[in-house]
């Protein structure tokens, strides 16, 4: 295990500089350069291996790529949302290297002429602080296929007896977003990395250009970290930790690298420029291959494709359709909803802004929407290890709250109804009907139960009559139990006092 320096001590001695490369899988219907279905589009999620392939995805002799116009539009939109300039003409290039998951043994990417460049994006940290992250470029490329190593331990290539290749992913459209070096984040560097990734996810979701599900690999992050001694001008040697694929991991990986590099530098050692692997289980990084000038991808302009030259009209059309930037939207919603800072951060940090907004749009109050999503729904999501937004629709949450407001459900009953909705039993009203969970509002039935309870507890009745109103609790409890909880406790209390005096 590598020697690590205490994080605060590392920050005392060194300034961290981070840079992030994020790949976003576009959810276009077809692939970047072929008419095969795109597995990053929900229509093709469950496809069998090697069924989403056209000749060019397999690199068959004679095959040629054709650019997907939808992917170009998505890429331009993403570039604009990142505040980038859109190149009037950009070119694809071939990145040449041999690997079995790469049918052509070159990847079609963009090299010296990316479609989008020079932008910046506002990133909001958990306490509401805004950091501006400078964007170097966003370029289009195709994904490679997927290798599965068989026979070794834990799916790794070491010790494997054979490898299977699934070319479904080959040719999936990607946009790679590269930040400039991010300075001045100091002890918040890990947090900034995490928040940046969340921001990219929110932007991609807001644009509707990607499903943006990190657990599905729709968004993948490589984190560059370097340290320089306090006061030094020159940037330190960086490492690139590849495929850190959750927001928690990117935060941990950056923190780990800062601590690891600081320990080496403090001992008078030097950092090797290399790619590193992130290990989720141990929370460590390990060396990958050395990255140096030896990496020669022999880039040259892709001769099978023409330059991409979007018209000014197209760019303006896409600009006019851009949704509100996540940070700006948060500012607006915070004002509209009237939440405290803490309340708003609870919602935002859990990635629940959209569903809360939709729940409010469906008729719930802001307070009620927040209460449901950050309360019971978040609790179930946590317990089941799922995303809250996948459990229940905002429309159903609003409907549930309406039933509570109308007195049809108590809070306790509403939680049972929610459980039924999550279990897929239908809408809240349908669950109320099928489970028979509505509050008993028939006073006749309640009075009968109250009279019976009072009759069986004469001592309590006596106390109430003598003005000891708090004694009514015992009777109320008995009635609620008889009603199987399906009564409004307040109404029961009213009636108990009424009947006791009768």
């Amino acid at each position: 295990m590598a020697k690590l320096m205490d994080f605060d001590k590392a920050l005392e001695m060194f300034e961290p500089v981070i840079g992030l490369e994020v790949h976003v899988e576009l959810n276009t219907k077809t692939k970047m350069f072929s008419a095969a279905g795109n597995p990053a589009n929900e229509e093709f999620h469950d496809s069998e291996p090697n069924t989403l392939v056209a000749p060019v995805d397999l690199g068959l002799p004679g095959s040629m790529p054709v650019v997907n116009a939808e992917a170009i539009r998505s890429s331009i939109s993403l570039g604009l949302a990142l505040g980038c300039s859109i190149a009037p003409s950009s070119r694809f290039a071939r990145k040449n290297y041999f690997y079995p998951d790469l049918g052509k043994n070159y990847q079609i990417s963009q090299y010296d002429e990316p479609i989008a460049f020079e932008g910046s994006v506002e990133v909001e940290l958990e306490d509401g602080e805004i950091i501006v992250v400078p964007i170097e470029r966003a370029h289009m490329e195709e994904d490679a296929g997927k290798l599965t190593h068989v026979g070794g331990s834990s799916g790794r290539i070491q010790g494997a007896s054979s490898s299977l290749v699934d070319y479904n992913r080959a040719g999936v459209p990607l946009v790679e977003i590269v930040t400039k070096p991010i300075f001045g984040t100091e002890h918040r560097a890990p947090e900034v990395a995490k928040a940046y990734l969340a921001t990219i996810r929110d932007i991609a979701r807001g644009l509707g250009i990607s499903e943006a599900r990190m657990e599905r690999g729709n968004i993948r992050c490589d984190a560059n970290v370097s340290l320089r001694p306090r006061g030094a001008e020159k940037l330190g040697t960086r490492t690139e930790t590849k495929n850190v694929n959750s927001m928690r991991s990117v935060e941990r990986a950056v923190r780990y690298e800062i601590r690891r590099q600081a320990a080496i530098l403090a001992d008078g050692g030097s950092i090797t420029q290399e790619t590193r692997h992130w290990h989720e289980d141990t929370g460590e990084t390990s060396p990958g291959r050395p990255k140096s000038d030896a990496d020669d991808y022999r880039y040259f302009p892709e001769p099978d494709l023409l330059p991409v030259a979007p018209s000014e009209e197209l760019i303006e059309e896409l600009r006019s359709k851009l949704p509100e930037a996540p940070a700006a939207k948060r500012r607006r919603l915070k004002g509209e909803w009237g939440f405290t800072d803490l309340e708003f951060q609870d919602v935002a940090n859990a990635g629940l802004t959209d569903v809360v907004e939709q729940t409010i749009a469906a008729g719930a109050t802001a307070a009620a929407a927040r209460k449901w999503w950050t309360g019971e729904i978040a609790r179930v999501a946590n317990a089941e290890g799922r995303e809250a937004a996948d459990l229940v629709s905002p429309i159903h949450v609003a409907e549930l709250q309406k039933l509570v407001d109308a007195g049809t459900l108590t809070d306790k009953l509403a939680r049972q109804v929610l459980e039924g909705v999550i279990a897929g039993e239908g809408s809240p009203q349908e669950v109320v009907d099928s489970r028979g969970l509505a509050v008993v509002s028939d006073d006749g039935a309640l009075i009968a139960a109250i009279d019976e309870a009072l009759a069986s507890q004469p001592d309590v009745l006596e106390k109430i009559k003598n003005g000891k109103v708090q004694a009514a609790g015992a009777v109320i409890g008995a009635v609620m139990k008889a009603m199987k909880g399906q009564a409004d406790a307040a109404r029961v209390r009213e009636l108990v006092l009424e009947r006791a005096q009768a």
Partner: protein
């Protein structure tokens, strides 16, 4: 020799349309000819077992009264660089031995749709790298004019098949002269269309920015007819032009009247040298014929042509090194049975599967693209390309077409230049500039060399998009020359005694 095989494609098409001959008869006649002479010529790597069935289907459709394409029922030879679903597609390489494509090249699909009958796949230099067809992994093709000589390359098989009357038409591909130089040495016609004029989809890529598929035939009109079939936009090829093309056959027929030559400005390139006396004399005689018919000959300067071959041999290997990377044994083709990692298997496969010229160019191209060398090599070559385009633009401001001898010498002996790559590369000095500039070029016979009695070709070049102009001018010259010879040049070719396959 059966008379059917002596017919041009246009003549055969007329006979088919008139019901004088069936496609089955025409196809059988060509299959018989292949059986009779291809043992000596070796123009074909594969003969289509389904040819007669395809011919029969056309005959039936015709009998049923269906309106068919003008060329329906005419047999066609297909260069092995083009992928086909019903015949192996190897690009004459061991690494693709027996490879069956799941799809047809667009030009093959268009040919089938027009009712042309694929006779088989023709021999070529491996992956179209060569000027003699000697680099085929399956043995060389022999020139029907002299079996000890090369048929040109890379498309020596298609040119020889047409010259030996094994097929009236063939498909070729031309990266630096692979259609036009074989035409020159076999006394046939070959056209490299404007870049993007014909789809490259399904043509196993050599150098993507230079490759162009085109027709091979014995007459100018026949090439024009086939060009009409295969040309036009293809959504599968992003570099294919969306231009609406005129009928090339109409242009050839119009040109045959000779009117086009009156006042035509023909440019001769001052800087093109190095042709043998026999080639030069034949060329000059053809130019005299043009002048006599009213053409005006103007000397033009193309100062950057002298860099063309050098630039070409950087751009081509660079692109080829990338295009040929896909031949790695993982998904198709040869797999070397060696122990070790996937990289070991890839490496051993490529070592066993590629021939010497292919390896030479992959190494050259890999080097030219390497970090630190890119600007000096690939970058500089691309600049030369721009300068050559400028040379052409300047020239075509003064002249309508440029005429050159198509290649430095007549057909040389098999084996003569095999060990001298630079001498082999010099074969393409007159044809390469058109590929670098993307302009169309055509070669047709200008006569026989007085030195050795072997065919010589004249090449015409026109500005991009002006393919029809080339058909007009070539057809005009062809009419005059054939008249002067008293019949087609190929009538002077020695009879092939046969030698069964």
């Amino acid at each position: 020799m059966n008379d059917l095989i002596k017919l041009s494609a246009a003549e055969l098409a007329a006979g088919l349309a008139a019901g004088d001959v069936s496609s089955v008869e025409a196809t059988q006649a060509h299959l018989d000819r292949i059986a009779a002479v291809d043992g000596d010529v070796h123009a074909f790597l594969h003969v289509n077992e389904g040819a007669l069935d395809a011919a029969r289907a056309i005959d039936e459709r015709r009998a049923a009264g269906e309106t068919l394409h003008e060329l329906a029922g005419v047999p066609l030879a297909v260069k092995d660089v083009l992928v086909t679903t019903d015949m192996p597609s190897t690009s004459a390489s061991k690494i693709l031995e027996g490879y069956m494509s799941p799809y047809d090249a667009t030009v093959v699909a268009k040919s089938r749709a027009a009712g042309l009958v694929p006779l088989g796949k023709t021999n070529m230099d491996e992956f179209a790298m060569g000027s003699s067809t000697e680099f085929s992994a399956y043995g060389p093709t022999h020139n029907p004019w002299d079996l000890d000589r090369i048929p040109g390359g890379s498309g020596g098989g298609s040119a020889a098949a047409v010259a030996a009357f094994e097929a009236p038409l063939a498909l070729g591909s031309d990266t630096g002269g692979s259609i036009r130089q074989p035409a020159h040495v076999t006394g046939t016609v070959g056209m490299k269309p404007t870049y993007g004029g014909v789809s490259r989809y399904g043509s196993i890529a050599l150098a993507s920015s230079l490759d162009q598929v085109g027709p091979v035939s014995r007459t100018v009109l026949d090439s024009a007819l086939l060009h009409d079939v295969i040309g036009g936009h293809d959504p599968h090829d992003a570099t294919s032009l969306t231009t609406t093309w005129p009928s090339f056959a109409a242009a050839a027929r119009e040109g045959a009247t000779g009117e086009v030559l009156k006042g035509l400005k023909v440019g001769l390139v001052k800087e093109l040298h190095g042709f043998s006396k026999g080639v030069e004399d034949s060329f000059q005689a053809a130019v005299k014929t043009l002048e006599a018919a009213g053409a005006e000959v103007i000397e033009i300067s193309a100062p950057h042509f002298k860099y063309a071959t050098a630039a070409y041999y950087l751009i081509l290997p660079a692109e080829a090194s990338s295009n040929l990377a896909k031949f790695d044994s993982v998904r198709f083709g040869l797999r070397a049975d060696v122990p070790g990692t996937v990289e070991d298997v890839m490496s051993a496969t490529r070592d066993a599967g590629f021939g010497p010229e292919v390896k030479r160019r992959i190494i050259l191209g890999t080097y030219a693209l390497s970090a630190g060398y890119y600007d000096a090599y690939y970058g500089s070559a691309q600049k030369v390309r721009t300068l050559i385009q400028q040379d052409f633009a300047n020239a075509f401001a003064e002249v309508d077409v440029i005429a050159t001898p198509a290649a430095p010498t007549t057909a040389f002996k098999l084996g003569e230049k095999l060990d001298d790559p630079l001498a082999m590369y010099a074969n393409d000095l007159a044809t390469i500039p058109a590929n670098l500039a993307g302009i169309p070029g055509i070669t047709l016979p200008s006569g026989l060399s007085a030195e050795d009695g072997l065919p010589v070709g004249i090449q015409f070049l026109a500005p991009e998009y002006e393919d029809a102009r080339l058909y007009r001018v070539s057809a005009a010259l062809e009419t005059l020359l054939v008249e002067s010879w008293g019949g087609p040049l190929l009538d002077k070719a020695p009879a092939l005694n046969g030698g069964a396959r």
